[in-house]
Symmetry: none
Subunit: 235 residues, 2 copies
């Protein structure tokens, strides 16, 4: 019988350290160099252990930055999960949303048509990242007709949620008009944001929301890390 490989015992050691809370979600592990010194092995052996933990979905490594601990995808009881996702679908928003950037520029033909504005009209584009339990689950790119609601871009930057920003410019009510669902593979940058491997399966929801006046108020794309989230539909 072969003895257990060193990398396996290192993986076990790190796994239990994480489980015991020595390293909590979002935190950085010591550098590979530091770990290799601590365990008295070569850096590659530590890397082997870390790669194993990454395959298990426990940690995620970012080149040049470090190795970060991920939150275990919580298995919500079905009833609770249903409510969570229902809210998600109904309201189109998630808890712990972080706005990455908001830009304003002239609308291209495509966007203009979808939002029923003229090409060249001011368009607000918002990029945001949504978290659940500190782990990223969704990446969104939303387009708003700034031309019809001046100050919307500022409001999007200022307010934490889309609803609040829209309320700030006088849009009290809006509903999702249509949603198109498909699947894609994560690009390098999407993988970065969602802390996934490049090529990981993503669930893509493309939606159009309309305000009370019947005019489109948002046209967005949301990429969900399908390893961590499931969309549920109920009838």
């Amino acid at each position: 019988m072969t003895r257990t490989p060193i990398w396996q015992s290192i993986a076990t050691s790190l796994r239990s350290a994480i489980a015991e809370g020595h390293y909590s979600a979002g935190e950085k592990l010591p550098t590979e160099a530091a770990l290799s010194e601590r365990f008295g092995v070569n850096r590659h052996t530590v890397r082997h252990a870390i790669r194993h933990l990454a395959d298990e979905g426990l940690v995620h490594a970012r080149r040049g930055a470090g190795v970060f601990v991920l939150a275990r995808p919580l298995d919500y009881p079905l009833s609770e999960r249903v409510r969570f996702h229902q809210n998600l679908l109904a309201a189109g928003r998630l808890p712990e949303k972080s706005v990455l950037s908001v830009e304003v520029h002239a609308a291209a033909e495509d966007d203009a048509r979808r939002l029923k504005i003229a090409p060249g009209d001011p368009l607000a584009v918002s990029y945001s990242l949504s978290f659940a339990d500190g782990t990223p689950v969704a990446l969104a790119e939303s387009r708003f007709p700034e031309v019809r609601h001046p100050g919307l871009a500022d409001a999007l930057r200022r307010e934490s949620g889309v609803s609040k920003a829209l309320a700030a410019v006088g849009v009290e009510d809006y509903v999702r008009a249509s949603t198109r669902l498909s699947a894609t593979s994560a690009t390098a940058t999407q993988a970065l944001h969602l802390q996934l491997r490049e090529g990981a399966p993503l669930l893509l929801a493309e939606s159009i929301s309309v305000a009370g006046d019947g005019l489109p108020i948002e046209h967005g794309q949301t990429w969900f890390a399908s390893e961590r989230i499931t969309l549920t539909l109920d009838y």
Copy 2:
């Protein structure tokens, strides 16, 4: 086996944004700092991407001022979205369905719970492939409580559609109770059936249908070739 560098992915993203007219000629790109936030990378990585675009002659950077779009390519190779748009409610009931095989065996615990039968009860499992215009678009694996409807397996083999087979055993009315959506990568066999490459993104819909008597009549998984089909939800 080297994955695509991040800066390349960013360059591609910016290049297509320019091509699509989101940033038009003479206009300023967002600042390097803003872009680095939006893409979730270090400023240096964004600079690498911009330098590449500058080498291509697409943009020009002026110290202290910003990065400006020089020219807009006439037309870019727009990935034609020749997708079939299908209604989500029709999931698993697409035209041109070909039943690959129908098996009957004892229900495992999981399936039994979902279909509200006892573990070990006869269970009909149907594997089918759906086409649209002769192209495979969906692969389905459906489970039916054979124990409650003896002869269902035979009917599934005989009849062309699920509705007809169910009608043959006295189930006139049934509705979809819930659908859960996620994304996966195609396995080798799935890729073969759907005529895709291995690892292609698939949209997975897991559903439960109930008959008029309120009992579950079907529990199925359908994998859609998301390159060829988009599910649409309308409200």
